[in-house]
């Protein structure tokens, strides 16, 4: 088969590209080739240089050395605008659109077609519809963008990118907020575009998706090129080993089942009866025990995050009660929840986790400091000690504790948020998608850490879109669908098939009592 498909024509070539930031060499002599009609996956761990490579080729940051050729001609884009004019269009992880404008306005923002009266709305709407039709999407383009799902918004971003006569489309983590059906929809679009002769660079942490869609894989590690491979020739184990630079067994071997039997608290630490909120989550029951991981599994929008927000007091419940250690507790604000020993790592690190400008140290001590109150302070020396301890313990990769947290990679930011909570000593830790958008190594670290914390008697609620991960870490799984808990799986019942079956069919026999 390999001989039947000769190398497609190379579209964009990077040769010996160098890029250094103060204190870090982000790209060290990296070669990369994107070809017409191919999906090329760019893979690597934290700090591998993926983001920098993307930024260099989209003109968001300039290379220090090396060559860049588009269709054989040297190019040197100085801004994303210029790269777009050359035919390199990018859709970033966080959708860069204006939620309050209409779909059509978003597609043409900044380059509205004009006629003698001003903006030519007829043409805008017609062309927006055409652009979306190319992606097999037929929606009302005059409606406000925020009214559509993230998946649709992503498609709109792609339509916007394609309208620039793109030759090369860069998709940076496009699937991290999409559910399985939406991913299929996106992939159908990608296949179509590929068939049209477009080159696509695909950055993702989902291995399944990479194997599903890509023709080639380029692996980077620590700013260096590890290699370029045909996807068909690179088994998964090999890929992971190359990305991590460590042996596969180390991270596949761990399983909660090894010592699951030892972990049994004396009755539930937190017990929920009929907790619910109209329009957000149907009343549900849930028991959380010390030394136990309860996974929340379900599709996007099934109510996983809503459950976490109710437990942590971000949203106010309008029915039901919560008992903590058999005493009634009113969790009506995050501060109240924290006083009861709860901690919450939110799904969206950037908007609700980190304080971007503050240092790693300040981010880590924040929860502890907040608990002490406004006027009682944590001595600086103690702050430094705490920061150092957790930077070391969690392997947070940062030049020093005073580095602004926004300069860290996603995985390290997530570890810092975890450190923030661990420093304040919670009894119940709610993790909402703790491994989303972070690399394989950091992911394994966080899973390991979760299990280590549970060993020590913490109760953990673990929310993840990746079933494999939920199965790996959970002692019990609550399955959600359409904003309700539809079933609960005990330790022996947990498997990806069982979870999917429960999502599809509802409660298995033993969870019948959980129904309202």
């Amino acid at each position: 088969m390999g001989t039947r498909m000769p190398d497609s024509v190379s579209l964009l070539q990077l040769r010996n590209v160098q890029k250094a930031f103060p204190g870090v060499v982000a790209l060290d002599d990296v070669d990369f080739t994107a070809r017409r009609g191919e999906v090329h996956a760019l893979m690597g761990e934290n700090g591998a240089g993926k983001s920098t490579l993307i930024k260099v080729l989209t003109g968001a940051c300039r290379r220090d050395g090396g060559q860049m050729l588009l269709d054989g001609k040297p190019i040197d884009p100085r801004s994303p605008m210029e790269a777009q004019r050359l035919g390199i269009s990018t859709v970033y992880q966080e959708v860069n659109l204006v939620p309050t404008l209409s779909v059509a306005e978003n597609i043409f923002l900044g380059r509205q077609p004009r006629n003698w009266r001003g903006i030519d709305w007829g043409q805008i709407h017609r062309r927006a519809e055409q652009a979306l039709a190319r992606l097999n999407l037929s929606i009302d383009v005059s409606r406000q963008l925020s009214g559509y799902s993230i998946a649709i918004q992503q498609m709109v971003a792609i339509a916007r990118a394609l309208d620039f006569e793109a030759k090369l489309l860069v998709l940076d983590e496009p699937t991290s907020s999409l559910d399985a059906g939406e991913v299929r929809q996106l992939f159908a679009v990608m296949r179509k575009l590929k068939g049209d002769g477009l080159g696509i660079i695909f950055v993702s942490h989902f291995l399944d998706q990479v194997y599903d869609i890509s023709n080639r894989i380029t692996v980077l590690r620590n700013g260096k090129l590890v290699g370029e491979y045909r996807t068909a020739d690179l088994p998964r184990g090999q890929l992971i080993a190359r990305m991590m630079g460590r042996e596969l067994a180390e991270f596949e071997g761990q399983s909660h089942r090894a010592n699951a039997g030892e972990r049994q608290g004396a009755g539930p630490m937190l017990s929920v009866r009929g907790l619910g909120r109209v329009g957000s989550m149907q009343p549900f029951d849930l028991d959380l025990c010390q030394g136990e991981v309860v996974g929340l599994a379900g599709l996007l929008g099934s109510g996983r995050t809503e459950t976490a927000r109710l437990l942590f007091g971000i949203d106010q419940a309008d029915s039901g009660e919560v008992r903590i250690n058999s005493g009634e507790a009113r969790l009506n604000s995050p501060r109240a929840a924290i006083r009861h020993g709860l901690a919450f790592c939110p799904e969206d690190r950037k908007t609700s986790g980190i304080i971007p400008e503050l240092s790693v140290r300040e981010n880590i001590v924040l929860a502890l400091q907040a608990r002490k109150g406004i006027f009682k302070s944590l001595p600086r020396k103690q702050q430094d000690e705490i920061a150092q301890r957790y930077i070391r313990a969690l392997g947070i990769s940062t030049p020093h504790a005073e580095q602004a947290i926004k300069n860290l990679s996603g995985g390290n930011q997530q570890k810092a948020i975890l450190a923030r909570w661990l420093a304040s000593g919670p009894r119940l830790l709610i993790l909402d998608e703790p491994t989303r958008g972070i690399d394989v190594g950091a992911k394994a670290d966080i899973q390991k850490l979760t299990l280590a914390l549970v060993e020590q008697g913490m109760a953990v609620v673990f929310i993840s879109s990746e079933l494999e991960e939920v199965v790996r870490v959970s002692d019990r799984v609550a399955v959600l669908r359409d904003r309700a808990i539809v079933g609960e799986l005990g330790r022996e019942q947990i498997s990806e098939q069982a979870i999917m079956k429960t999502i599809a069919e509802g409660a298995p026999a033993r969870a019948a009592e959980a129904a309202p």
Partner: protein
């Protein structure tokens, strides 16, 4: 909080040893530009304004332009310090000028109109100002009204209330307390001492207690701070209340200095200078990191500038050169501008 038990964790694989922090070096570099601006301005004064730096002694008090700058800096610094903390929470306080007028009117009415003892008038004025600040804080922090709108209410109404209190008459305050506040019993102007004293107290307080961190966290990311358990409402409320108190103190000092209060003029447009001082000092209007020292430098820069201009240009035109200098400082602060402006120089050097 001794009951906090932190779990013990085995270091995970490949933990890099993190070095000790280099400290807040980037914070300090932000101070470079206002300092440079001030230095340039003083250089101009040295060359073009005769006797600018001459300091004399009259009746045991220091006199001269630098001493006057020190005096006038007092109220500016007070406003800038309060404003900086409000900006750092992600808000803005447009009412500080009106609160100055309110404070002055209360002082004058009670001390001169109603013949209260001076200390009673002073404490009432400060109380009223703090209450005005607390009103702003309540609107913003408790009712989630946008800061610019919430403080606009008092910006307009505060001055009106001040005029109602003082009436049409110009009330004159007198007595030892007021001459001490407005004069130089210690050899240098009390106004400056109070202003810089408040700066030192606020700087020490915010950095030695956790208030600084919590203010920066609140302004840096309100949602994340709330999720981390920070009482963002209390933090925000306190910032506005403090800003009100600072403005009241500034109004009081001005009243003592001028021996009376004119509610229609006192503190007029001062909120803009205060915002400017804070921004020149490196505090972003979007909130987060703040620098009180920077704000003080900004305030002194503005006062020096105003003083300088008034020696050369009629008061009516003074705002134009002032705007020019402010623009220059802001351009110097802009990284984009520096890169673009310096690029040709660098290319020539290469």
């Amino acid at each position: 909080m001794t009951d906090v038990q932190t779990p013990t964790i085995e270091p995970l694989a490949s933990s890099p040893a993190a070095g000790r922090g280099r400290g807040r070096s980037s914070q300090w570099t932000k101070l470079l530009w206002p300092l440079l601006g001030l230095a340039l301005l003083l250089l101009v004064d040295l060359v073009w304004v005769p006797n600018f730096f001459r300091i004399g002694v009259t009746e045991g008090r220091l006199t001269g332009t630098p001493i006057e700058i020190f005096r006038w800096s007092g109220p500016e610094v007070l406003l800038a310090v309060g404003m900086t903390l409000v900006l750092a929470t992600g808000g803005v306080d447009l009412s500080v000028g009106a609160i100055m007028a309110l404070s002055g009117a209360v002082t004058a009415k009670l001390a001169a109109g109603l013949q209260w003892p001076p200390w009673g008038a002073v404490l009432s004025a400060l109380g009223a100002s703090a209450a005005a600040g607390a009103w702003n804080g309540a609107l913003v922090a408790l009712l989630d009204i946008q800061p610019i709108v919430a403080t606009l209410v008092l910006m307009v109404a505060g001055r009106g209330i001040a005029e109602l209190i003082s009436g049409a008459a110009h009330l004159k305050v007198s007595g030892t307390l007021f001459s001490a506040l407005g004069g130089s019993p210690l050899g240098i102007p009390t106004e400056g001492l109070v202003g810089f004293g408040m700066f030192a107290a606020a700087a020490a307080f915010t950095r030695l207690t956790s208030t600084g961190l919590l203010i920066e966290a609140t302004g840096g990311n309100r949602t994340a701070s709330r999720f981390a358990g920070v009482n963002v409402r209390a933090v925000t409320f306190l910032a506005y209340a403090f800003s009100g108190l600072c403005a009241g103190l500034a109004g009081l000092l001005q009243t003592a200095d001028l021996h009376g209060a004119d509610a229609s003029k006192m503190g007029l447009y001062w909120e803009l200078d205060a915002i400017l001082a804070a921004v020149i000092g490196g505090t972003a209007l979007t909130g987060g990191r703040f620098s009180l020292l920077g704000a003080v430098l900004g305030a002194v820069l503005i006062v020096t500038l105003t003083t300088t201009i008034q020696t050369k240009v009629p008061v009516e035109y003074a705002l134009v050169p002032k705007a020019v200098v402010v623009l220059v400082v802001c351009l110097l602060q802009s990284e984009t501008f520096r890169q673009n402006a310096l690029a040709p120089l660098r290319r020539r050097a290469a």
